[in-house]
Symmetry: C2
Subunit: 337 residues, 2 copies
DNA sequence: TAATTTGGAGTTACCGATAACTCATAAATA
DNA sequence: TATTTATGAGTTATCGGTAACTCCAAATTA
């Protein structure tokens, strides 16, 4: 590939002069400038970003680490992040963590090695603390998306788990449901904890009981969920509605319900946090508390770049984006009404 | 950040010795090796990939350029690409081209500057030729995904547009449709051309007529499509089914139909190429000729890396992945039956 | 014992750029 | 006219690694 030295030789000047033309720095006569510009074009010169990064100690590279790109929440978040990064003159490195701490660790290593200027990530869970500490120790700025990690201060873009859960619960209660079960995620994830707490709180506020067995904590093996749903429906007083703490759980639950011959919403209403489908869907099914996922990406990148360019205040910033309730087909009045 | 020189100083050896430990090259005594390893861990050393790339003339970076990450076809393709890239020890730079030649051009520049080892891309269209030539001139290996570009030989992963269109057309004919309209994309995109040709061919094979106005070429402005659909339905003999050349067009068409008060499939069946929703959807609606998009990504990356590592034959390789028909709710017998 | 091989390093140059400094010449000023 | 200033460059060192070469001492071989 062509380097500034090749250009310099052809132009009969030093490499530094070429560098000055490229960067528009220093003093250069208009004649020289035009001559070098012409030679650069003629030789198809493209600056080597790595060489520049090495000396500038800045890579103009950001990293986005999310659990799963195919989850519509992250799809749209990633799109927002990429758009915002390009607008600000940064490139974006993509990684899927798969809710797997080992993969996350590996990816953090990659990211450190790539000398990215900053990282935007949804941590796997509380145990991601060690990974974040690595970033912090190397002074790589990062912004946490969606999930908090206790013990780690940082810039954050969060949803409102409390409010979203309240909206979903209220919606079910308004429809007439009294027996509502909760399908939650791992207690090692901040959003799962908050959503569970808010659910309990809201149910209590409505004076509704939470029988033993109505609170399910799912792990990530589907068979577990199948069994848990089966057990739930086998109770003497089974729920008439199910609130899932995220789209992933709702999807699994509905599959389990279907395999048990239950119809949604006729036999059981199901609602959840986060969209279950991306914008391409014609006929959305799930009633959800949707989060502005594209904005998570855009604002995350902006916050990150502000931090990198030290335009941000010293203290950590925390943005909370409100959810919106979309009432669709998966929720209806309880069958008994 | 810690460099090999810092490690060398602390270990009382030369930087080269440290480099040898890192890369497991050359001869090193076990004692020295362990000492250096310990110091590296103690000082949280992380190798600088950019510095290494600079001297090795290899970045271990690949680039994925797709039109739109939020399109489920590309979402899943991107996921496949990321998984495969990581498996092979490469990082992935992500870019959305938005079917916009200017954006694509910009991105090609970025990619050249980043000195990626290879590029995986869905070209915007035939006019992408100039961009591909740039890559070729700089000897950057690339693999084309989904779309061909006339005049540019290269490795390719393609779907079977001919077969997929035939399947969709046959499906509609089998349901009893005789008046089928075609909503195609820009003739500057290879897949759009192929699908149109295959549609005409298949209709002819069934002895079915294609009245004037049944073949729509859409541009990317939605208002155009609205008007085109309106005109289509205002014909003396309007179609009973619509075959859209891709998911994007089908989505637009269905929105237009709904705003005209038409129900799908009761008033009009709609089928299309490519999934309209990603895996998270509970209740898929569209009848589609689905392409194995995840495999597009995985195989594309593998083909690319083979080429980079010169494990590939000199000649261009072309893989064609077959589509699968998923019959769902958007297609049914014509209303007149 | 002398010559050769081998193990375990160190030295130097270079990858492609930029920062900081230097320097000659022409123009402006005293 | 002598001195200062501005213009338009060039030189050198450096970013953090690795390739290629060198080199010495111990071990092996003739």
């Amino acid at each position: 590939m062509v380097t500034i030295y090749d250009i310099a030789q052809k132009a009969g000047c030093s490499a530094m002069t070429v560098s000055r033309v490229i960067n528009n720095t220093g003093r250069i006569s208009e004649a020289t400038r035009q001559r070098i510009l012409a030679i650069m074009k003629e030789m198809n010169y493209v600056p080597n970003a790595m060489a520049r990064s090495l000396v500038k100690q800045e890579s103009r590279l950001l990293s986005l680490l999310i659990p799963d790109l195919t989850n519509p929440f992250y799809t749209s978040l990633a799109r927002g992040a990429e758009d915002a990064a390009r607008d600000l003159g940064y490139r974006l490195l993509l990684g899927n963590g798969d809710e797997d701490l080992a993969k996350e660790k590996e990816y953090i290593e990659t990211v450190l090695s790539a000398r990215v200027d900053g990282v935007l990530l949804t941590p796997t869970g509380d145990q991601s603390l060690a990974h974040l500490k690595k970033l912090a120790k190397q002074r790589i700025p990062f912004v946490l998306l969606d999930r908090e990690v206790p013990g780690m201060g940082s810039d954050q873009i969060l949803g409102d788990s409390r409010e979203g859960t309240r909206m979903l619960t209220d919606h079910l209660v308004t429809l007439g449901h009294r027996r509502i079960a909760f399908l939650g995620g791992s207690r090692l994830v901040s959003t799962a904890r908050l959503r569970l707490a808010s659910f309990e709180e809201t149910m209590a506020a409505h004076g509704l009981a939470l029988p033993e067995g109505y609170l399910i904590e799912a792990d990530y093996r589907m068979k577990e969920i199948d069994r848990q749903i089966t057990a739930l429906l086998a109770m003497p007083e089974p729920p008439t509605a199910l609130l899932a703490a995220n789209n992933f759980l709702a999807l699994r639950a509905i599959r389990a319900l279907r395999s048990l011959g239950k119809r949604v919403p006729d036999d059981l209403s199901v609602v959840c946090f986060d969209e279950l489908e991306a914008g391409f869907v014609v006929d959305p099914f799930m009633t959800v508390a949707a989060q502005p996922s594209y904005d998570f990406g855009v604002m995350g990148i902006r916050m990150l770049v502000d931090r990198i360019q030290q335009k941000a205040p010293e203290s950590w910033r925390k943005v909370v984006l409100p959810p919106v309730l979309h009432v669709r087909k998966s929720s209806g009045p309880p069958a008994s009404l």
